[in-house]
């Protein structure tokens, strides 16, 4: 997030796009709910589905899945035509405005209405409302990123925020809600193929030389690394022979599960380190039982970049080891000893190697409620919101972005659009929540949401079994008839290993970020 969770308290307008906040970020959604109910803040909800935030919204835009770029370009067209842009901000803080404005010119309300299916008047109302204040916060999640245009969608949000001067100030900004307790930290720590910790580029010789010295190695790899999805393809091709998985369950979470099944079976060596057996660990050659979150000290970085210390409350379960000890043991055996007595010593090293974490020490974290990075020194208080007087790159760059349709549009053979996500009681592949009695009782079995009109033409009722089929696989699921999904769209979740919805999803990815298009694939439905 460019801004912090506390700043929700003073926002005047929220534009929530592609985030089912009440299900997936409940404590953040409570800030939005309170702001709307108690202070009269306005909510623009952009979501094809009628999610729980919908009744609170001033404007609910149910645009077609995958039409986000057209929608936001449409907002910017309206803002420019009504002279609602922030001319001073554009002049002083940004560049490339003219080129962006040129492209946006054709995204008139009528043109955008044709792509998104949203009434032109509603587009105008939403654009006017967003631009009406300097306290407009854009809040997004996987609903806009899990598309082949995911990067374009995020850049479009940044364009919109810069156009109206809604960034670099309190209670504004572009705020991604991250879905796992340490997904921000895993990225920050260089758990990505292209960067070392603190987003220091792996392709940069200077960076590699720095880490070669700090880590005492002769030569760090030059070749570009692969993403999770790319690694899956390379395993199938026979180029990757071994996989070491720490605390992940790709057989359920990755798209096109049949492909993943072939890939995992093909591996010469699969090491799985986890706290529970998973469908992925069934393929493993070595299973390493790890201590869980409450059984070790360690820091986690939340969606607002706040680094917090989590304390060991219990000794590791008998027979398990904390992940950091297992990693050190493997590395030592591989001829690269890493000697740390406890996690705080690893943080000492992170302070030295990672400029944005330089001032974040266990000593400081013990005293307060965490520190948001960047925190370049031990005296620095941390950074509440980003891009205050200038952007990281200097001037904010307007990106020129055109709408592209999703990879797999519905057709005569596969006439429905399947979109996937999480539901409130469950989390990701369900390895933890489905082992929690209260949560599993709330949602014990998989289902497929379908619009009443579609249900009528298929002659199915809630509870009936249907076969849902894509070009990659088919599943038998129970139907849940609900107008929460628009006509032509069906929704399901990836929480249930016994009915893995990712057998249907496709591997098409965003060319920049490598994120799969989970939010859109074409399916057919027939009565079982």
């Amino acid at each position: 997030m460019t801004n912090s969770i506390d700043e929700f308290e003073d926002a005047s307008v929220f534009m929530v796009i592609g985030s089912n906040t009440t299900s997936n970020h409940p404590l953040i959604s409570s800030r939005i709910i309170n702001a709307v109910r108690q202070r009269g803040a306005k909510l623009i909800l952009c979501d094809p589905r009628c999610i729980d935030l919908a009744p609170l919204s001033s404007i609910h835009i149910r645009h077609k899945i995958g039409s986000d770029v057209a929608l936001i370009n449409g907002f910017m067209n309206i803002i420019l035509n009504k002279n609602l842009e922030d001319k001073t901000f554009i002049e002083e803080r940004t560049e490339n405005f003219e080129k962006m404005a040129e492209v946006v010119e054709k995204y008139t309300p009528d043109y955008v209405s044709g792509i998104t299916g949203v009434e032109p008047e509603l587009l105008v109302k939403a654009a006017e409302l967003y631009a009406s204040t300097k306290r407009s916060m854009i809040v997004y999640a996987m609903g806009i990123t899990q598309h082949i245009a995911g990067t374009d969608n995020v850049k479009s949000c940044a364009n919109l925020a810069m156009l109206t001067g809604n960034i670099g100030t309190p209670s504004s900004g572009v705020n991604p809600l991250r879905g796992q307790n340490n997904v921000q930290g895993a990225c920050d720590m260089g758990g990505l193929p292209n960067v070392y910790s603190g987003y220091q580029p792996a392709a940069d010789l200077f960076v590699r030389n720095k880490f070669e010295k700090l880590w005492g190695v002769d030569k760090l790899p030059e070749k570009k690394g692969l993403t999770v999805i790319e690694m899956g393809h390379e395993i199938e091709k026979g180029n990757i022979k071994a996989l070491y998985i720490m605390g992940e369950n790709p057989f359920i979470s990755d798209p096109d599960a049949k492909h993943m099944h072939r890939a995992l079976k093909k591996l010469e060596l699969l090491i799985v380190q986890d706290i529970f057996p998973t469908p992925t660990s069934e393929f493993a050659h070595v299973i390493l039982p790890a201590a869980c979150f409450a059984e070790r000290d360690g820091t986690y970085t939340n969606t607002e970049r706040r680094v917090q210390l989590s304390h060991q409350a219990l000794p590791p379960l008998k027979g398990t080891l904390p992940d950091w000890k297992i990693i050190c043991e493997i590395s030592k055996r591989a001829g690269f000893p890493m000697d740390y007595n406890d996690p705080s010593e690893i943080m000492d090293e992170i302070n030295i190697t990672t400029p944005s974490y330089a001032g974040i020490t266990y000593e400081r974290l013990e005293q307060g409620w965490g520190i948001p990075w960047p925190c370049p020194s031990k005296e620095h208080p941390g950074t509440k919101f980003l891009h205050k007087d200038k952007f990281t790159r200097g001037r904010g760059l307007f990106h020129v972005i055109e709408y592209i349709p999703p990879a797999e549009l519905p057709d005569a053979e596969y006439p429905f659009t399947l979109t996937t996500g999480r539901i409130r009681p469950h989390f990701h592949t369900g390895t933890m929540t489905r082992r929690t009695a209260i949560l599993d009782r709330e949602a014990p079995s998989p289902f497929l949401d379908i619009n009443p009109e579609d249900a009528k033409s298929l002659r199915v009722r809630t509870g009936d079994k249907i076969i849902v089929e894509s070009r990659r696989g088919s599943l038998k699921l129970s139907v849940n008839v609900t107008s929460d999904v628009p006509k032509g769209v069906v929704f399901s979740t990836f929480h249930f290993k016994e009915k893995n919805i990712n057998e249907l999803t496709l591997c098409a990815v965003d060319p920049v970020a490598g994120i799969p298009e989970y939010k859109n694939c074409a399916v057919s439905i027939r009565r079982s």
Binding site: E234, M246, R333
Partner: protein, 133 residues
């Protein structure tokens, strides 16, 4: 009885709570009134997050595959098999024949040394995690 401040294992909000333990088991959860994100509240997943700690399904023995059959092993044997297996693949095909999946569920420190091991010990940038999933 002891209480320790723990970061919730679920979403990215970053709520924390006091985990109550007694005789080596988690017995309850107390929200923190002063925590800047959770402010005395928790969602249904956070409230129930202690149940997984003592769950009977927890993996508690290293396992290795022996002639196609997975069987319990001692830590030494499992660690040797993992490390030697990785090393022999590195020596035969190069480090880029290995993939490393870091985790959005473990700590910063653990992710840092996991990525460090991939790059420094096995000489590959093939390290990623479920950030996109």
């Amino acid at each position: 009885m002891a209480e320790k401040l723990v970061v919730c294992p679920y979403c990215g909000c970053g709520c924390s709570f006091y985990l109550v333990t007694k005789n080596g088991r988690a017995t309850g959860i107390i929200p923190s009134n002063n925590h800047p994100v959770s402010r005395g509240a928790l969602c249904v997943k956070g409230w129930n997050s202690s149940e997984i700690i003592n769950h009977p399904d927890r993996l508690d023995t290293p396992m290795v595959r022996d002639h196609g059959i997975i069987r319990p092993a001692l830590w030494e044997e499992a660690l040797d098999m993992a490390a030697n297996g990785l090393l022999s693949i590195k020596n035969k095909y190069g480090g880029d024949a290995i993939g490393f999946f870091a985790s959005a569920k473990v700590s910063n420190e653990e992710n840092y040394i996991f990525a460090k091991m991939a790059r420094a010990a096995f000489n590959t940038n093939n390290v990623d995690h479920c950030a996109r999933l």
